[in-house]
Amino acid sequence: MKSKLKVLRAERDWTQADLAAQLDVSRQTINAIEKGKYDPSLSLAFKVAKLFSLKIEDIFEN
């Protein structure tokens, strides 16, 4: 699954650790999602969408 997480994070000048902190996950999880190696659960996807004030489909795509 592709995601715009890296772009959105860069726009806000956040590090992976900063984003991980906001989402209460490990930095490794953020890295895996950004690289497309891990598809987040719906619950985590909602958290990401809420954090960036966007829709899930605006961040993640197949």
Binding site: A17, A21, N31, K37
Partner: protein, 139 residues
Amino acid sequence: MKTMKSENYAQRNCKNTRSVLLWSFLWGFSLLVAVFALKFWWPQSIAMLSILILVHLSCALGALKAHQVWLKGLDELQQQIQLHSMAFTLGLTWIAITFLMLLSSTGIFEIGQFHLPILAVVMAVVGAVGNLVGMRKAS
């Protein structure tokens, strides 16, 4: 930026990992004490046997609970890695046990009491390898 949550996640993991290590050590140590005490110090004492078994089982339950708390404290990716690692370990253990039972039933290999600790060590090694593979795949 809110950095408190990250510290909390890291701190929670660190605390839970320390708890797992402590309880696992206590569990192993209580087993060692029980074996030595009953073999060398109080070989005929039913009272000591009862106390040592009770202490050992309490430590085992503590270790089990600590592992549960640790697993629940992990994020979803880490939990997935642990799940795959445990499934891998369990699968290989079943294969090893059935294979050894087959060898034992044919008389080629005799399963002795001393094989159990070896099996436990092999399980630990397989679990660690499964973890490493999962971590590498995710990074």
